[in-house]
């Protein structure tokens, strides 16, 4: 073989190896989805959504208490986190070069990298320790804290996609800045901002670590934010490490529900932003 052939062969081998890496990288996703569907889908009946867990050791029952808990806690977190995140994101996009925008962007990156368990300890030290009472509200506060940087960066990225010409056109027509921003810029990207925000909400709905010692979890239905409350990811954790076969069954089904919601929103976000790119191009 000539040197040239060896070099070309080497190149082809390396390309094949990297193609193989793609297969290996996609494999876990398929395995996880497959396992979840096989072991979880059969348990997704009406009882799963409408009943609370029956007594340990018996069969039947569902996770209605955790569904209600997740909806309440994530709802409260969204009420706290969304306004701050969206306002900060709009500020970072509208006044991009101010010192505050640079600082806020950097801090948001730091917060994004902060482990969620650390945020849980923060919420515990702030809201649980002083009153010596685990509460769903403390869990919501931790979730809101995690949501703010995600929402902020999504909002900022989306607003930045709006062409400057559109903004200038509105200003040239005599629109004041705030109306330009709200009725032209934000309006243009509203589908992207909404789906991106929903994705952030779905992500925090899957968080377990910050709830472990704030909302704590609950075997029963509870709608009082001042007391311990169940949540879907907490239920997956507790039931997965629990000893009963019946609990494992519910854990798989709950995990399947969680993952379907997150994946659906991820895909929706992708479609919403892709359409924007296409129309611009």
């Amino acid at each position: 073989m000539t040197r040239r052939q060896i070099r070309r062969g080497m190149s082809n081998v390396m390309v094949a190896v990297m193609g193989g890496a793609v297969v290996v990288a996609v494999l876990p996703l398929l395995l996880i989805l497959g396992t979840l569907v096989i072991r979880g889908a059969s348990s997704l009946n009406l009882a799963f959504f409408l009943e609370t867990t029956s007594a340990a050791g018996t069969t039947g029952g569902g996770v209605a208490h955790a569904i209600v808990g997740t909806l309440l806690m994530v709802g409260a977190a969204a009420l706290m986190g969304l306004p701050i995140g969206i306002a900060a994101g709009m500020y970072a996009a509208e006044y991009a070069n101010t010192r505050l925008a640079v600082v806020t962007r950097f801090v948001a990156d730091v917060m994004n990298g902060t482990p969620s368990i650390v945020v849980g300890v923060f919420a515990w030290a702030w809201l649980v320790a002083p009153r010596n009472q685990f509460s769903a509200f403390a869990g919501s506060a931790a979730l809101a804290m995690l949501m703010i940087p995600m929402v902020m960066r999504t909002t900022e990225e989306m607003i930045k996609l709006v062409p400057t010409a559109l903004r200038e056109a509105a200003l040239a027509l005599g629109y004041p800045r705030w109306r330009t921003s709200l009725t032209v810029v934000v309006r243009t990207m509203l589908p992207g901002i909404v789906t991106g925000t929903l994705l952030a909400v779905a992500r925090i709905a899957g968080e377990t670590a910050p709830l472990l010692f704030t909302a704590l979890g609950n075997q029963f239905m509870n709608t009082d934010l001042g007391r311990p409350m169940a949540a879907l990811p907490l239920t997956v954790y507790v039931y997965a490490i629990g000893p009963y076969e019946e609990w494992h069954r519910l854990a798989w089904a709950t995990a399947l529900v969680l993952i379907l919601v997150v994946l659906a929103l991820s895909i929706a976000t992708r479609i919403a932003t892709r359409q924007r790119f296409d129309r611009r191009g």
Binding site: R7, M10, S11, N12, M18, G19, G20, A21, V22, A25, V26, P28, I32, L36, I84, I86, A87, A88, M90, E94, Y95, A101, T104, V107, D109, V110, G113, T114, P115, S116, V118, G120, V121, F122, A125, M145, M152, G174, Y175, P176, R177, W178, R179, S181, G206, T208, A209, L212, P233, V236, Y237, A240, I241, H248, W252, A255, L258, I259, V262, S266
Partner: protein, 332 residues
Amino acid sequence: MLEDPPESQRGPIPQGPSPRGAVRLFGRDWGDLVFRGMLTLGAILVPVLLGFLVWELYLGSRLAIDRFGFRFLTSSNWNPVSGEFGALPLIFGTLLSSMLALLIAVPLSLGVAIFLTEFAPPRIRGPIAFVIELLAAIPSVVYGLWGIFFLIPFLRGTIYPALQGVLGFLPFFQGPIYGYSMLSAAIILAIMVMPYIMSVSREVLLAVPSSQREAALALGATRWEAVVTAVVPYARSGIIGAIILGLGRALGETMAVTMVIGNRHELSASLFAPGYTMAAAIANEFAEAVEDIHLSALAYVALVLFLVTVLVNAGARLLVWRVTRRAAGAAP
């Protein structure tokens, strides 16, 4: 950029109807002021909240900081009964599991990123990257569940015995095989951080100007040689940034690790032995801790973990930012 010009440079105040939607009172447009004020409030709250987080963590861990000081980081005695706490096994476990995870994830994610930017047919590049990025959207606790009931039985049954058979002479692969172990945690972590490393390195590689590739190809390099000699070196610091970003993720990952690592306060050379990480210890012991000093020690662990991840992430951002800024500056 779009600020109003100063008073002296303004033309005559327009007569007739005021601009659409302007809220005028005393000759000023209050709409803009209120708008900017509200956005500014949101932007200021973000750093304020982070400062508050650090302060609360400090308050929570003050008891342990006062009692143990820096000895906390070097002692491996963790005994809630006698009130003695040292976090060395936790720090060791966190570093070891993250490093092992990177060892697995880095070659894989770089291979994927290079394949997707240089070799794959353009049509499938975006979709494949998206599918791999979906891994990042899966909740950590779902990875844990999958790890307990699918991955660990599989590893314990087939991979680990084979590994011990081949590499059993090394101290890392000796001893009984538990399944719940440092190596299992590292493998789960590798799957979890791979999408982050892949996605950022892909972004960095896309920022490499095509003249780099073309120059190498024009000199007679094969496609692979062009990547190795011209593309990767150009993007090197950005790729290192991507890896460190993945490290930041791995260090703080909690639920999946807690569920598969075995949770034991021990230093062990064998990767088949159970271990512990900082995040896992907090997750596992916090709700059950009753003594103030135990809680405070766990908060101290959280503070250390926070500081480590901040340093790691800030370093990574800086590296990625340097490459993409250079690329933006070089663009015509």
